[in-house]
């Protein structure tokens, strides 16, 4: 097991290095990406541009630039090209909103996803199942930003007046306002996953309900609810746990970019979206690395938990 962990960690570090290099390379290859010209503004002289180039080190070979940028990422001195602000500080400022959004939405989508999946599997073929299946399908077919725009407007102060018009209130400032501002973004982000998890769980349950061990449990005279919860659901949940870990990582690592932008939550994703619009490499690099880190980290955890739970896939 120790060798497994070591090998996974080395692999994870290699993947992160490759991700950072690809992100960097994209901005070297793309012609519109010369940061010195953009920083100098519209009426800059050649001398001006050359000046900026040498002070920021853009005239150095790309591998030197890459090395320096990586060094700055880890020492926390990474400076934005356009706003000249410290990127790591900006990300730290955005993290509470992003984590609030991701954790809240994850709890909601896991709870409702399992509920929806179980109900439609138990009532398979009946109207409740069909209705839920159609709703789940519409849920996964909606662009999340579109749903967000409509929900923010029609449930917001100008129409239904139930929810506020976007924005983020820190939990430490006012917990009630925090909750009030987060509920709508949570549900909007969760809708897609609820539909998706419900569908996956439904088919998993229907598969395992016909297994021999379930028949054995029923034959023993166990209460149907106990069979469902202890035997069927426990087995059907394994793929859901994998999905959940990876989706959660994806949402924290930039997947909530659309929801954050639509609801103006000022999180990491919205910071990234703003930086992308000005082609500001340092923040994009930092956010991409953060996202990749979460994805790789949760991937490794899933593999580890799997290896622990199921000896058959334990690597020899």
């Amino acid at each position: 097991m120790a060798a497994f962990i070591v090998r996974r960690s080395v692999g994870a570090i290699l993947v992160l290095a490759a991700v950072s290099f690809i992100t960097f390379a994209i901005f070297i290859v793309i012609p519109g990406g010369d940061p010195a010209e953009r920083m100098a503004g519209k009426n800059a002289t050649d001398e001006n541009i050359a000046n900026i180039r040498s002070t920021w080190g853009f005239d150095q070979p790309f591998y030197v630039q890459y090395g320096k940028m990586m060094q700055k990422v880890f020492s926390g001195d990474l400076i934005s090209y356009t706003t000249q602000q410290n990127v790591i500080q900006e990300i730290k400022r955005g993290l509470p909103a992003t984590i609030s959004l991701a954790v809240g939405a994850a709890i909601i989508w896991l709870f409702f996803g399992v509920l929806v999946g179980v109900i439609s599997a138990v009532t398979a073929g009946r109207w409740s199942d069909r209705g839920i299946t159609i709703l789940a399908l519409i849920g996964i077919s909606m662009p999340v930003f579109w749903l967000g725009i409509l929900a923010r407007y029609y449930l917001g102060p100008e129409n239904a007046g139930i929810f506020p018009d976007g924005g983020y209130v820190p939990l430490t400032d006012n917990p009630a306002e925090w909750l009030y501002h987060m509920i709508l973004p949570w549900f909007v982000l969760a809708v897609l996953f609820i539909g998706f998890y419900g569908r996956v769980l439904r088919s998993n349950i229907l598969d395992s309900i016909n297994e021999d061990y379930v028949r054995t449990a029923k034959a023993k005279g166990l209460h149907p609810r106990r069979v469902l919860l202890k035997h069927v659901l426990r087995n059907s949940m394994i793929p859901i746990v994998t999905l959940f870990a990876l989706d959660f990582a994806g949402v924290i690592g930039g997947g909530a970019i659309l929801t954050e932008t639509v609801f103006d939550l000022q999180g990491v994703g919205q910071y990234a979206a703003r930086s992308v619009r000005s082609l500001d490499l340092p923040p994009i690099m930092a956010v991409t690395l953060l996202g990749a880190f979460f994805i790789v980290f949760f991937n490794a955890i899933v593999d580890f938990v799997y290896a622990y739970l199921d000896p058959r896939i334990r690597p020899s």
């Binding site: 993947v15 069909r130 662009p143 725009i149 991409t288």
Partner: protein
């Protein structure tokens, strides 16, 4: 939608022969699948809906010329149209109005013509936007771009994924290692973020390196970005399928007969994964339409004034207070198309292989 697998599994050549009271005949798997699909009316209905959307979008120029009488980018800021015999401004100017009796000044906002349905003889059926452009025409033209990007990127994505999966699964060893790691790497990238970064960067100057010349407004930019992003999602399960097929006796027999790698890959392996590829292709079009909308919404996909469903929503978002139809109409078009494709994809999967577990992760 997803009918129970058990409905289908009995539908075999032997069962058909019994029902038709004839001898057992060899039936191709495609014929059996078609028989199963034929009974799934919901899936067939969804296919019809999708095809109608496609036909409507293809017919956009006809609609623009003969029904709406205006192009997708023609502005009508000062026009008036006849609605039920009355003259109505497409865009009525705002400003201040002074009441002559009380002298009170009220501010009149700019109002945009809303959906007229058929009251204005086919003009502004779904309303106008803030430049007086016909929303119905723009949604149809936008659909051409969205569908084109969705379908072409799905084609490229499944084609590349299939080739890579065949190579990795057949040769194994180093090529398998390299391709699997590439898939892992793509899956570890925060794809939306990188897609936006790429799209935004390319939108400025396009891509000009060596023989490849892509102009900045080209649809190839979102098409290629989306294809690359999703290659791993299709490639990984395909590779897994080929790995298990590779160990089967019929492959061994084919190699023993002297078939070369090409022949085994195209003649033996490909037909065995064709149904999976077809299902993936359908479902990934739906997915790609959503990704295109997201990229365009964030300004990294189709570039205005060229419309797509994503850019239309993005334009409408700012006007939701005065003209909500600008947001509602293109979004509804997306939901309709994607739901239809998802239902049809589900039905296709159930019909082609009742026990298959093809799934696209978002």
């Amino acid at each position: 939608m997803t009918q129970q697998a058990t409905d289908f599994t009995l539908d075999t050549a032997a069962e058909l022969a019994e029902r038709e009271q004839g001898p057992i005949e060899g039936r191709s798997p495609w014929y059996l699948a078609w028989r199963r699909l034929r009974r799934n009316y919901v899936a067939l209905g969804s296919l019809v809906v999708f095809l109608l959307v496609v036909i409507a979008c293809i017919g956009a120029p006809w609609y623009a010329e003969h029904v709406a009488g205006t192009g997708p980018n023609n502005t009508h800021l000062t026009d008036t149209i006849t609605v039920n015999g009355e003259q109505v401004d497409v865009i009525s100017a705002g400003g201040t109005v002074t009441d002559p009796n009380t002298g009170q000044i009220t501010i009149k906002p700019v109002t945009v013509l809303g959906p007229q349905l058929w009251r204005a003889d086919g003009k502004y059926v779904l309303g106008a936007d803030t430049l007086g452009r016909d929303v119905a025409v723009r949604v149809l033209y936008g659909g051409r771009n969205s569908l084109l990007i969705g379908i072409v990127s799905a084609l490229i994505c499944t084609l590349v994924a299939t080739i890579l999966a065949l190579i990795a699964g057949y040769f194994g060893g180093w090529s398998d290692w390299g391709i699997t790691r590439t898939f892992d790497l793509i899956a570890a990238l925060p794809v939306i973020l990188l897609g936006i970064a790429l799209g935004a960067a390319l939108a400025i100057n396009g891509f000009h390196h060596g023989p490849i010349n892509i102009e900045s407004g080209s649809l190839w930019i979102p098409i290629l970005i989306i294809s690359v992003i999703l290659v791993a999602y299709v490639g990984r399960p395909l590779r897994g399928q080929i790995l298990s097929l590779r160990e089967k006796e019929f492959i061994e027999a084919s190699i023993a007969q002297g078939s070369g790698p090409f022949r085994v890959m195209l003649g033996e392996l490909l037909p065995n994964i064709a149904s999976t590829i077809l299902v993936f292709f359908t479902l990934i079009i739906a997915n790609n339409i959503l990704v295109e909308a997201a990229l365009s919404f964030l300004g990294a996909g189709v570039q205005p004034p060229n419309p797509s469903w994503g850019t239309l929503i993005s334009e409408g978002q700012e006007r939701i207070r005065t003209a909500p139809w600008l947001t509602i109409v293109p979004g509804t078009a997306i939901v309709l198309t994607v739901v239809a494709l998802n239902i049809f994809g589900d039905g296709l999967r159930d019909a082609l292989d009742p026990r298959a577990k093809v799934r696209i992760e978002h």
